[in-house]
Subunit: 228 residues, 2 copies
């Protein structure tokens, strides 16, 4: 950092928020259809300009609220994309975030800069505006990665959940089947969830114990070191 001089030509700064949820056995992300040029009519990750007096986190949180009406969710800075030609209008640098929300949230409402807002299932996405395909791929990679060494999976479920639901969430995101007994044992031994004493019933079959995430749990896993 920097001289006392301030450059006159500054890039515009935006935040883009990749929002994930699980629904009906699928991973979904919220996209908006652009109402304005450039890329008018294309789908894009929701986002907007950072205001003069707000932090980046606050800007991301505000965009999330405006797009979906949701607050108090998991939100994490992802990466900053700054290729000079990523926006045909001129220099726009974007700080990408990713958010995880539960399926039981109010439906999105299109903002003034979006003609439409809709959930898209992850494997089958439309063409995206700008470099948003790249940003989304990055977000998905990060989600999978975080899932493996962090207790972030709970952010996609409601407060109380069964172990079967949690396992299903992991299987959807990691895209591989998991062993039920091993899953349960490890999760319980890790001491990050606790029984609520309540049960989910109504379906065919026995009632399932409901669990909740232990807020006092420290759920970071040490990676197995290779070096060394």
């Amino acid at each position: 950092m920097t001289t006392g001089y301030f450059p006159p030509d500054r890039p515009a700064l935006t935040v883009d928020v990749v929002i994930f949820r699980l629904r009906e056995g699928q991973l979904e992300t919220l996209l908006i259809r652009r109402a304005a040029l450039p890329y008018k009519g294309r789908w894009a990750i929701p986002g907007g300009f950072v205001r003069a007096d707000e932090s980046l986190d606050a800007a991301a949180r505000r965009e999330l609220l405006e797009e979906t009406g949701i607050k108090d969710v998991f939100l994490e800075q992802l990466y900053t994309f700054g290729d000079p030609r990523r926006d045909p209008r001129g220099r726009v640098v974007t700080v990408a975030y990713f958010a995880l929300i539960t399926a039981a949230q109010p439906p999105p409402h299109a903002g003034d800069d979006a003609a439409e807002a809709r959930w898209h299932t992850m494997p089958s996405l439309p063409e995206l505006a700008f470099d948003h395909k790249q940003i989304l791929a990055y977000a998905l990679r990060r989600l999978r990665y975080k899932l493996e060494y962090t207790a972030v999976g709970f952010e996609l479920l409601s407060d109380e959940f069964t172990l079967a639901e949690l396992q299903a969430a992991y299987e959807i995101i990691l895209d591989e089947p998991l062993d039920k007994r091993n899953f349960r044992r490890r999760l319980l031994e890790a001491n990050v969830i606790e029984e609520t004493g309540k049960y989910r019933s109504g379906q065919v079959g026995p009632r399932a114990q409901l669990y909740r995430y232990r807020t006092d749990a420290v759920a970071e896993v040490k990676a197995r070191r290779l070096f060394p």
Copy 2:
């Protein structure tokens, strides 16, 4: 992303590059003493404004070259810091990078915005300008983290190195002793280094085999999953 309208008041955008090297058994970082207000005379992480036509990576690379005369090093984006009050002059958002270089590099030369550039050993640092203490702490955490699941340690050594040197590097950064036999076995089994056939001699004791990093090695480690 965004309407067709472009906001008139944009934050200034800088890159700051935390540069690490190992020297004489210590982890060092390059700091510059600020020649201008604010924080005149304080030590700071080298950095500068992003130019209109360059990517963020290019800006970081340019700053690194200007501060140290070095190119072709390990450089990675770290995090973007955007608190509205982090710079008293006004809104400045900075994209932090971190770089790893070998000790055998030309000495730094102070740029026009720095009164002085000097290497500081990591545990004992002076007071820093802006939020640079926080940025540096973040960079160190990331370095340690990366070291455990990535083959990044080699970036701090010269092209050819002995296993003892590599182990010493790990011990300095992780700040804990490592077992020699386990270290060697695991590293060799991981297949990321190869013998050069040459030896380091001159010191008391037997000659030590020199190794080099295998450029074709894929050196990412799967984390041990906790969830599930």
